[in-house]
Amino acid sequence: MKNRSVLNFFTEETSMRNKLWLGFISVVGAIIATNLLVGVFITNVAVNRLWFTIIGLLMGLLLGYVISQYILKSVRTLLIATRTIGKGDLTKEVAISSKDEIGELAMSFNQMILSLREMIMQFRKSSDDIIEASKTLSTFVQDINFTAEEVAVISTQISKGAEKQSHLMDNTFAIMKRMADLIQVVAEKSQVAAESAQRAGETAKSERESLEKTREELEKVFSKIESSASLIRNFGEKIQKITKITDIITGIAEQTNLLSFNAAIEATRAGESGKGFSIVADEVRRLAEKAKGYAEDITSIIDAIKKDNLIISSSLDAQTEGVSFGRTAVGAAVSGLVDIMGKIIVMVDDIKEISSITQQQKQDAQLVVQDMGNVAKLAEEYVCATDETAKVAASQVESMNRMVSSTKNLSEISDRLKNAALKFKLEAEP
């Protein structure tokens, strides 16, 4: 504008203020020029001045009218454009190319139309997007609602399960407590057992030597029993010899008896001379009978002794077998006992270790009982939480139902918005 000359006042680029200033100056100039011209041609000053003023005013009004018409033309164009836009037609632009404020206003108006067009297009597109999104959202919400209903059902089931779990945890807690009590009893018993085992181990060490001595003594006893058995067997053999001798004596007695009979018969046959011999034969026969009787008595006694000896021998045989078995059994028993003693000594350490472990178990069991108590409490809290969760899930279902209706509302609103946006005409219709 600095380079702008006076001639530029009538160009399109002149601002409205300049145009107003130009009109005012023109009027004043016209008045001054008229006065000058009138002064030349007319001498009456007063009349001149009056005419000059009137002519100047008329020229000023004419210029003002021309200028105002020029300005109003652009304003009318803008008014028409505004009315068109008001009807929703954004297809037309304002055709004003002046460089003044009206031109800038028209440019701004056109810019506004462009902006509105873009905005409406964007609005339409956004409405479509919102409709699509609301549909998708509705689908999602329905899915979520379905899921929420399932979650509500599952939450209810979880709540019931949690309640059962809580009962089970209570039972488990009670069982664990009883187990802990039992473990404590076991720990106490194992402590006592460990002490007893300690004493048993000490006794085992000392008794092992005693067992070895006992085995040696028993071996001596077995040897004595076997030698006694041998002696009794020898006695049996001697009795057999005595029996044979007794049989011989009996036989001799019988023979003597027979001989005495025959001698007596012969003496009788000899008559009077055989009388003395007959008496001797009779005495011999009596002695033979006595000898036979004594031999028979001895035989009876020996038979009794033989029977007893047989019983004793049988008993001894059994005893010998028993001794043999006993020796083996005692040997095995002593070996087993010695082995047991050794194992007891080893077992003492094991029992001590078991006692130590059970003590640790007792402490662990107490900790487990405490933890189980905490878990039972947690389970109760979990029951409450699951109840709350079920309630929340139920309320969530309700919320989701409301959200479904909201998405429906949103879709309807989007439709209405889209319809509203469609009322704007953005392109020239063919």
């Binding site: 007596a264 018969i265 009788t268 046959r269 007959s278 009779d282």
Partner: protein
């Protein structure tokens, strides 16, 4: 009737058991008393003949007195063979009981004989006398009569 060696009124007897009674044989009728001997059976001999045995070169026919008297068959450890004194055949009586001797008064009474039939028609008659000793009775076997009966039986066979 025979007389005893020391007193005319006494007699020595060998006593044994038979048929539940005490029997006796006079010393004077006995050649010898034998102990258990091996007896060899004789084929087709009469049932009461046990068999044959021998003593000092003599063959003795052993007669089972139990069978001859009709005694029930019995077992005994006390077996003796009484070899009878006879001029003819040598007879040994098999005694299955304990044998003893006793001097008894010779007061003999007659008694009913025992009769035993063999093979249906042949009879053996055991004649005996009786000596009473208190309440007991002792049957004295008449060995001569027995030998005679056996000889007759043998002839009949």
């Amino acid at each position: 009737m025979k007389k005893g060696p020391f007193n005319q009124n006494t007699v020595w007897l060998v006593l044994f058991e038979l048929l539940g009674e005490t029997w006796g044989i006079r010393f004077s009728d006995i050649q010898e008393i034998l102990s258990t001997q091996k007896i060899t059976p004789v084929p087709k001999a009469p049932p009461f003949v046990n068999g044959l045995t021998h003593k000092r070169g003599k063959i003795i026919t052993v007669i089972d007195l139990d069978l001859l008297a009709g005694e029930t068959p019995r077992e005994s450890k006390e077996i003796r063979i009484i070899h009878l004194k006879n001029s003819g055949m040598d007879i040994g009586l098999l005694i299955k009981s304990k044998v003893s001797s006793e001097l008894l008064p010779e007061e003999l009474e007659t008694s009913d004989p025992l009769m035993k039939e063999f093979c249906g028609k042949n009879k053996i008659i055991l004649r005996k006398s009786i000596i009473r000793k208190g309440a007991d009775t002792i049957n004295v076997l008449e060995t001569d009569e027995l030998i005679k009966a056996l000889e007759e039986y043998s002839l009949n066979q």
